[in-house]
C-alpha cells in the first residue's frame, strides 16, 4: 500500500516499500500478499490452498470477537474506516488489542486522515494507510496528539488518576 505510516518501537516512519495489496472486491490477479475482506479471507483459508496466509480486512460490521481461532496464523489485520466519521473501528481495535491480545500489525485503512491519527494510535493501531489524496508527510504531524490523556486507552491502559505522582 502507498501513503503508509508505520510505528516501529513507537517511532513513526513513512513506508515506501509496503508489500501489501488491499483488495476490497474484484478478481484476484495480484501476486503480492493480499488484504482481503473477512468473508473472502475465510473462503481462501478454509479452502486450504494457501501456503501463506492473507491479511484480513475488518469492515465496521464485522465482529472481532469471532477471530480468535485465526489469530495465531494472521499476519496482519486492517480495520476499515469507510468514513472518518464512523468510529466503530476504534472499538474494534480496542477489542483486538485489549481483549484478544492481538500483537501483530493493526492497520487503519480507508478514510484515514491526519486529525484522527492520534486517536487511532491510542486505540492500538500501529500502521496508517493515509487516504491517497492526502500528503503522508502532513499526516505525520497528526500522530503525536496531545500530551495529556485523562482516560485510558489501549496504549495507556491506566487512566490519568492512576498515573499521577502521589
Amino acid at each position: 500500500m502507498n501513503n503508509l505510516i508505520s510505528l516501529r518501537d513507537g517511532e513513526p516512519r513513512i513506508v515506501t516499500d509496503d508489500p501489501w495489496v488491499l483488495l476490497r472486491d474484484g478478481e484476484i490477479t495480484e501476486q503480492g500478499p493480499l488484504i482481503l475482506p473477512l468473508a473472502r479471507w475465510r473462503e481462501r483459508q478454509e479452502a486450504g490452498g494457501q501456503t501463506r496466509c492473507d491479511g484480513l480486512l475488518l469492515s465496521p460490521d464485522d465482529e472481532p470477537l469471532e477471530l480468535p481461532p485465526w489469530l495465531a496464523v494472521l499476519p496482519l489485520i486492517a480495520i476499515d474506516f469507510p468514513s472518518f466519521r464512523d468510529g466503530r473501528g476504534y472499538s474494534q481495535a480496542y477489542l483486538l488489542r485489549s481483549r484478544l491480545g492481538w500483537r501483530g500489525e493493526l492497520r487503519a485503512v480507508g478514510d484515514v486522515l491526519r486529525d484522527q491519527l492520534a486517536h487511532m494510535r491510542q486505540c492500538g493501531f500501529d500502521s496508517f494507510a493515509v487516504r491517497e489524496d492526502k500528503s503522508v508527510h502532513d499526516a505525520l504531524k497528526g500522530l503525536a496528539g496531545m500530551s495529556v490523556q485523562y482516560g485510558r486507552s489501549v496504549i495507556e491502559p491506566r487512566p490519568l488518576f492512576r498515573r499521577r505522582p502521589l
Partner: protein, 556 residues
C-alpha cells in the same frame, strides 16, 4: 469549585493550539469543509444562519466570578454584547468569526474554560442541577463524580466518533432538578444504609423527534465502577448504534430496538471484562477531586434573620420574589437565589448582556463566595447568599434587569434560539416567548397560577425541551410557513412525562390566545391550590382541547 492542575491546563492549551492549526488549514483550503466539520463541532463551533455560533462548556453549570467576567469580555469583544445560556448549562455566542475562534478559546483557557465537545457525536458537557453542593434536599454532592466523568470523557479516543451525541446528567438530591430521564445516560446518586455511595444508572433517554424517557439499566452500582460501567455502555453503543439515519442514531433507539433487558445483557457482558481493571476509581482520586469542592467558609448563622423577616412582612414585592426565586440552603442562615433571565419582552430567554454578566459577577463576590451557577432552565443562580442580604441583593438584581419574580411560573419560559439564529429551526421561538410573556405580565395573576413550565423549541430537535414542559410549543413547517404545535402534560424531574399534542397547530399570532385558553381551562378545573400539571393529570387533556378548539373554530 474545581481548579485546573497542570494536566488540565496542558490539555486545554494544546487543544487551542491544535484547533488554531486546524482553522488555518481550513482557511488555506487544505482541509475541506467536510473534514473540518467534526473538528469544529468538537470545539463547540456551529455554522448558523448568519454567522458561526460558539458554544462554551460550563461543566455542570458552575462558574467563578472571574470566568463570568471573561464570558462578558468575549461577548463585548467578539459578539454583539450578549451571550445565550442554554438548557445544557452552557453559553452560546451567536455572532462569531471563524478567524477569531482560536483567540477566544485562548482567552477561555486563561480562566480554565474551553469549548471541547460541546457539540459533535461525542460525550457532551456533563450536567447536574444548579444547586449542587448547597441544596437542602441533597443526599450527597454530585460534583466530584461529575468532574471525574468530565475528565474521563474529554478526548477519550475510542468515543469521539459515536453514532450521535451523548449526554450524561447526574442528580444526587431527593428532587431531580437536572432533567435526568431525558439523557442518554442518567445517574441518580445515593447512599445505602451502610453509607456506601451508589448509582442508579438510567439509559436511553432523549428528546428530539422520538422523545423517550430513560429506563433503569442497573441499580446499586458502587461508585468505584462508574467509569467502567459507562465505558461498557459506550462501547456497546459505539459498535451497535445505528449510523444509517441520524434521526435513529441516538442510544435511545438502540435500547428500544433491543429492549432494555437485552441491551443490559450486552452491557453487563462487556462490563465483566473491565470492571475490576484500571478503570476502577480509587479513594485517592475521589478525595483529590472532592477536596476542590470543599464548602466555602460559611459563617455560623441563625436560620431566622430578623431583618429578613421584617423585609418579608413589609415589602410585598420582595416577598413575592422570595416565594419564587429563593431556594432553601443546607447551611442555616443561607439561601440560594435564582436570577431570572426571563424579564419578558425586553430580552429573549437565557440572553444576558455583558454588563449584566459583569454585575452578576460583582454580586457573587459581594454577597456570596464568588460562585455562579447556570440552571438548565437558563437562569443564573447565586448559591450562597445570607438571608440577611436577600433584600439588598433583590434590589440590585432588579436594577440590572435580573430581578423578575417568576421562577417556575408561566413566564419563566425555556426557549431555544429558534429561527432567528438557528439554521435547523422550522420556526422562530423568541417572538413566541415574548408574546406569551407580554400576555401574562400581570404579576398577581401570574403568581396565582402557581407552577407552570412552558418550553418552546423551534424544531423537532427539541433544544427547548418542549416535550417535558407542562405546556410545550413546537415550531413546525407547513408549506414554508411557521406553525406551532402545542402539547400539555409534560413534566421534568422524578415524575417526568412527555406532553400530549392537543390538536392541529396554530399560527404565531394565535399562540398567546391558545395559552390563555389553556390557563382559563386550568382555572376552571383547578381544585384548591393544585398545580397545572396535577390538574392536567387528573382531568386529562380533553377539557383543554375542547376549550382551545371551540374558541379557535368560533365564527368571527
Amino acid at each position: 469549585m474545581y481548579h485546573y492542575d497542570e494536566y488540565d491546563h496542558a490539555l486545554v492549551r494544546e487543544r487551542v493550539a491544535q484547533f488554531r492549526d486546524q482553522v488555518q488549514r481550513r482557511l488555506s483550503g487544505e482541509l475541506s469543509e467536510e473534514e473540518f466539520l467534526p473538528l469544529r463541532l468538537q470545539n463547540g463551533l456551529y455554522l448558523q444562519k448568519h454567522a458561526y455560533m460558539l458554544r462554551v462548556a460550563i461543566p455542570y453549570g458552575t462558574l467563578s466570578a472571574r470566568q463570568l467576567r471573561t464570558l462578558a469580555s468575549i461577548a463585548r469583544d467578539y459578539d454583539r454584547d450578549y451571550g445565550h445560556f442554554t438548557t445544557r448549562q452552557n453559553i452560546q455566542f451567536n455572532w462569531i468569526e471563524l478567524e477569531q475562534v482560536p483567540d477566544i478559546l485562548e482567552r477561555l483557557a486563561d480562566v480554565e474554560m474551553h469549548a471541547i465537545q460541546t457539540s459533535g457525536n461525542c460525550v457532551r458537557n456533563i450536567t447536574t442541577e444548579a444547586f449542587a453542593g448547597v441544596a437542602a434536599d441533597e443526599l450527597l454532592d454530585p460534583r466530584p463524580l461529575a468532574e471525574i466523568l468530565r475528565q474521563w470523557s474529554t478526548v477519550n479516543p475510542e468515543f469521539l466518533f459515536l453514532p450521535r451525541k451523548f449526554k450524561i446528567a447526574l442528580c444526587a438530591a431527593r428532587e431531580d432538578r437536572a432533567a435526568v430521564p431525558m439523557h442518554d445516560v442518567g445517574l441518580y446518586l445515593y447512599r445505602d444504609a451502610a453509607g456506601e455511595l451508589l448509582a442508579r444508572v438510567m439509559v436511553g433517554g432523549g428528546l428530539g423527534r422520538t422523545p423517550i424517557l430513560s429506563q433503569v439499566i442497573r441499580d446499586g452500582l458502587p461508585w468505584r465502577h462508574l467509569l467502567s460501567y459507562v465505558e461498557a455502555i459506550l462501547r456497546v453503543y459505539n459498535r451497535h448504534g445505528r449510523r444509517d439515519n441520524k434521526y435513529k442514531a441516538r442510544i435511545k433507539i438502540l435500547v428500544k430496538a433491543l429492549g432494555i433487558e437485552a441491551f443490559a445483557r450486552e452491557v453487563e457482558a462487556e462490563w465483566q471484562h473491565i470492571k475490576d481493571g484500571p478503570a476502577e476509581l480509587t479513594d485517592a482520586e475521589y478525595q483529590r477531586v472532592a477536596a476542590t469542592f470543599a464548602p466555602p467558609p460559611y459563617a455560623a448563622l441563625s436560620d431566622t434573620d430578623l431583618d429578613f423577616g421584617t423585609a418579608l412582612a413589609g415589602d410585598a414585592a420582595f416577598a413575592r420574589w422570595v416565594s419564587r426565586n429563593v431556594q432553601p440552603h443546607k447551611v442555616p442562615g443561607y439561601a440560594s437565589v435564582v436570577l431570572s433571565t426571563k424579564p419578558g419582552a425586553s430580552l429573549p430567554p437565557g440572553d444576558v448582556t455583558s454588563a449584566q454578566m459583569g454585575a452578576v459577577a460583582e454580586l457573587a463576590e459581594r454577597y456570596g463566595f464568588g460562585e455562579i451557577r447556570v440552571a438548565h432552565e437558563q437562569n443564573l443562580v447565586l448559591p450562597d447568599i445570607r438571608k440577611a442580604d436577600l433584600h439588598a441583593l433583590w434590589q440590585q438584581a432588579l436594577a440590572i434587569g435580573l430581578g423578575s419574580a417568576n421562577i417556575g411560573l408561566l413566564t419563566d419560559v425555556i426557549a431555544c434560539p429558534g429561527g432567528d439564529y438557528c439554521a435547523l429551526a422550522n420556526a422562530k421561538s423568541i417572538p413566541i416567548a415574548q408574546a406569551i410573556q407580554q400576555r401574562f405580565e400581570d404579576a398577581e395573576a401570574l403568581h396565582a397560577l402557581g407552577d407552570i413550565s412552558l418550553n418552546i423549541s423551534g424544531c423537532m430537535n427539541a433544544c427547548g425541551h418542549h416535550h417535558i414542559g407542562n405546556i410545550g410549543i413546537l415550531g413546525v413547517d407547513k408549506n414554508g410557513s411557521e406553525w406551532y404545535q402545542v402539547t400539555i402534560g409534560g413534566a421534568q424531574g422524578k415524575s417526568s412525562a412527555l406532553g400530549k399534542v392537543i390538536g392541529p397547530s396554530f399560527s404565531a399570532a394565535e399562540v398567546p390566545d391558545v395559552i390563555e385558553r389553556l390557563v382559563e381551562t386550568f382555572d376552571e378545573q383547578r381544585q384548591g391550590n393544585e398545580r397545572f400539571i396535577d390538574t392536567v393529570q387528573r382531568v386529562g387533556i380533553e377539557p383543554f382541547k375542547a376549550r382551545v378548539y371551540r374558541q379557535a373554530e368560533a365564527p368571527t
